[in-house]
Amino acid sequence: MIPSGRESAEKWEVQLRKGCLELAILAVLWGGTLYGLEILRRLESDSDLIVSEGTVYPLLSRLKALGLVKSEWVESDAGHPRKYYALTSAGRERARSMAAIWTRFSSSMGKLLAPLGKEK
């Protein structure tokens, strides 16, 4: 069965959001060190991304393996230690170049899509 236009668009939106997650995490960490739950809350409050918790932690682990973030365990008032993440210099560089690509791309797409928003 051919999926409806709405279903296809929703699937495409899920993939689009997923593809933006790495940049979104690097952007959230741009301002300083955060632990996992803080990163999740920032993503939820500051972006339109619907983030699954089970996706973010493996992704943080991957970003660390790639040398884009570093982590440190810090004792907390809550009675248990928390793992804080910060960007490395390679991570800052990656975030900068991804942001530049994003800006260029969204600007050109914006021009292309502008007529779609105008009523005939």
Partner: protein, 204 residues
């Protein structure tokens, strides 16, 4: 924390730890402790840590099997990318194959390439032991067509067949077999690299 909440938490983390087997012990400890910290923070946000709070935090994380799969698959693919050991590459491809058609196709290519390579090498190695029968043969089939067959030399000489390479099968088989194994590993590693670049995380 209530004992029921503690029990739920430990049961979840135990299942996660179990499914993370294959990763380095330090990595497993790090993952488990980070998720423990996350669950305690999430469940304790309202004050008292209750079984219901812990259960809600665990539901939001998803099943421990799926969560562990995200960590392990990526780690194995990362190993396959840098590894030249066929077994490591096979292990990673096997897991990738369970996730996507692309992984399955690459796994098939890996198996076929290595199988052909191994047969060429075996044929070369067995030639001195079966000088009359091992080698590359051209054999007529019942329909009258000619087919080329690589034979390891077990059994009798094929009727009406002609051996094509003679003793040249030894150097040619060794070189071709080794090249096939090396090229198959390189090609599969390249596929893994492309996949990891294009997919931030394996999709399910």
């Amino acid at each position: 924390m209530t004992s029921e909440a503690q029990q739920r938490l430990e049961e979840y983390l135990g299942r996660l730890r179990e499914r993370l087997r294959g990763l380095h012990a330090d990595d497993i400890r790090e993952i488990v402790e980070e998720l423990r910290s996350h669950i305690l923070d999430k469940a304790g946000a309202g004050g008292q840590l209750t079984a219901a709070g812990v259960a809600a935090a665990l539901t939001a994380l998803g099943s421990p099997e799926k969560l562990a799969g995200e960590y392990v698959t990526d780690s194995l693919l990362a190993q396959a990318e840098i590894s030249r050991t066929p077994w490591r590459i096979f292990d990673a491809l096997f897991r990738w194959a369970s996730l996507s058609l692309a992984g399955f196709l690459v796994l098939m290519g890996f198996v076929v390439g290595n199988f052909l390579g191994a047969v060429f090498v075996l044929c070369a190695v067995l030639k001195p032991f079966h000088p009359q029968t091992a080698g590359l043969w051209r054999i007529p089939d019942p329909a009258g067509d000619l087919q080329v067959s690589l034979r390891l030399g077990f059994g009798s000489r094929p009727i009406g067949g002609r051996e094509l390479l003679g003793w040249w099968i030894v150097p040619i088989g060794l070189v071709a077999g080794c090249l096939m194994v090396i090229m198959t590993s390189s090609l599969c590693s390249w596929c893994v690299r492309q996949y990891r670049r294009s997919h931030l995380l394996p999709r399910r």
